[in-house]
């Protein structure tokens, strides 16, 4: 399967060292690309690990996936419509609690997630100890401690990406328990969502977004953007379009 390319999305709050990780992964061979119809630019690059070629996409840093701003919509739409093979959520070890908010939201959208805890060196310096094993168990997805600027943990991260991309990791993502009112609403909407959207999209998440009155999401779902085909590496998409 040497002609198979997997798409890896990098997500995270602003200032978590996402771009540092991106540069470490891709070397200096990255080029920036514009998604159709959006003005926000993303860095995109390639990375080869154990014979597999990966397309790495650096999404804009966001705090949430609610349709609050153009950046958040771009990140959300990428997860929803481009369906990366693996989504790496980069979190800041020194501000884990705040960063987990986004990670939890990503877990609602896709189960192919790896949490990369960056800035571990900084956390160690400040005496912050993170039980990554326990966190992985609780979140139900792999958690890899790294330090992007010192290039620590990058191999372990890539091995995990490799395993997940090739389907060797089973995940069981943590599902947030909402208030009884909201859970009742989700339960009622779920069959309707599945009827209208089919199994293509994460139904529970969509039901939740609809309850929140997210009309921009509905607009996006009505007219899903064309799958991205970039000149020169059109092959990159073919690998990523497959049903979950």
């Amino acid at each position: 399967m040497t002609d198979m390319t997997y798409t890896i999305a990098l997500m995270g709050n602003p200032n978590t060292g996402k771009s540092t990780l991106f540069n470490v992964l891709t070397g200096l061979r990255q080029h920036t690309g514009n998604w159709p119809g959006k003005t926000v630019t993303h860095a995109e690059g390639e990375c080869r690990h154990r014979g597999t070629l990966y397309r790495i996409v650096d999404l804009p840093g966001t705090y949430s996936l609610y349709s609050n701003s153009a950046d958040e919509e771009v990140a959300r739409d990428f997860l929803l419509f481009q369906r990366p093979d693996v989504t790496v959520v980069v979190v800041d070890a020194t501000a884990l609690e705040r960063n987990l908010n986004l990670a939890l939201q990503v877990l609602e959208m896709t189960d192919r997630v790896i949490i990369a805890i960056n800035l571990m060196d900084e956390a160690k310096k400040r005496g912050i100890l993170i039980n990554t094993k326990k966190l992985a168990t609780r979140l139900g997805v792999p958690v890899v401690p790294i330090s992007a600027r010192n290039r620590e943990g990058i191999d372990a991260l890539l091995d995990t990406v490799d395993a997940m991309a090739h389907g060797r990791i089973n995940t069981n993502p943590l599902s947030i328990r909402y208030s009884p009112e909201i859970e009742r609403g989700i339960a009622k909407l779920l069959p309707l969502v599945k009827e209208v959207m089919g199994d293509t999209y994460p139904a529970r998440w969509i039901a939740l977004r609809l309850l929140d009155g997210d009309t921009s999401l509905l607009q996006a779902l009505k007219q899903p953007p064309q799958p991205l085909i970039k000149e020169g590496n059109a092959y990159a998409c073919c690998g990523s379009i497959k049903s979950i």
Binding site: N13, P14, N15, Y63, S64, Y66, N68, S69, T94, L96, E97, R98, L100, N101, L104, Q105, R126, G127, I128, L129, I130, N131, T132, K134, L135, R138, L139, L174, I176, R177, Y178, S179, E181, I182, R184, G185, K188, L189, L192, V193, E195, V196, M197, G198, T200, A207, L208, L210, L211, D212, G213, T215, L218, L221, K222
Partner: protein, 464 residues
Amino acid sequence: MPAADPSNRFDRLMTEAKSLAPDNVREQIVAAIFQTSAELYRECVTHTNSVKRDRTEQIDRIVTSKRWGFPIMLALLAAVLYVTIAGANVFSDSLARLFGTIETYLTMAFQAIHAPDWLHGLIVLGLYRGTAWVVSVMLPPMAIFFPVFALLENYGYLPRVAFNMDRLFKKAGAHGKQSLTMAMGFGCNAAAIMSTRIIESPRERMLAILTNNFVPCNGRWPTLILLSSLFMAAGYTGGWKTFVTAGVVVAMVLFGIIVTLTVSWVLSKTALRGIPTHYTLELPPYRRPKIMDTIIRATLDKSLYVLKRAVTVAAPAGILTWVLGNLHVGDTTVLAYLADWLDPFAKALGLDGYILMAFILGLPANEIVVPILLMGYLSAGALTEVDGLHSLKRILLDHGWTWLTALNMMLFSLLHYPCGTTLVNIYKETKSAKWTFVAFALPTAIAIAVTFTTAQLARWSGLI
């Protein structure tokens, strides 16, 4: 995906979702997520050396605390203003003397080449004297205030201000980010209007736009500082005088913030009804700024920018004012005629005709209100050479100023319509002539109402 008329099915889904959603759905969702994060954090993270806690967190615990957040904010603002006023007094007088000397030489030069009187009047008494007043009165406070403020900003304090204000804005039914755009407004309202783009909800964005000019911008700080130092601390001497002066300006800023919150609250209950949305505000770590760099940059970028704007607009305005002041209709000048015409209304607001005219002619830029006022007064006969703050106060006293005049001019400056540039930006951002008009009329109405009330109260209670 089912093909049959998908958009209809989508709409039905949305209607269904709306009927199922509880009122505070977003709050419940956010609360559940935050709670889960907090649980995970408690279970998986331990701090080994709790003594050596992060410095930024330590500082933030104090400066954003409920008890100390606001006192510290006010104290810092007062300190910045104290330094500004104390420093500006010294600087201003010597600068004025320098301009006075230059004027003497200029007049001698005009006499030497036998220039006609009207030319000397236009160039020296109109253009030069007007410009010299602007520079000597406005440059010193700006040259101190902006760099000190910029140091505070670069150290990372402004986001903390926004954080403290956030609670209040939410209570007023506005978006917490409005505190950020308001902080921008302390620099320049026109720029702050652009910055309201960070607020996504159109309703909350409109609130931020309509209330932005209630905080003093670069163009109005000098007016507030100047009038406060001339009139508000007359009974005090030495350090106390400066302290009281700074206190009055702080009170003005507070009053502006109170008006901002009140207007936001009233609007969010009436014309712009709705509930505030949630957001996360990142508090960047404190960084020691490059001190010299910041000072030089603030001086060059801000002080000179504002001064340049003031001079370029004030110079033509100086000529216009001089012409109006020397063009006679019957036995009175056009300027005096206009000022007289405005006088009854202005007096009701505790101002006078010249002040109101200065505000009207000053629409293009707030920086030129004081210069135009001075030119108006000077052209009306009281030919005063540029001679520092003391003679400035004498000019104002000669024209019947009292502390009430100064107070109401400060209030009017704080509350009145935004400058021309800001109005243009409001139109560009809202694409609505109606809302732009509201952004003009609402502050003006408030300015008139407030100054009218203080004037009547002061007269009624016999303070004046």
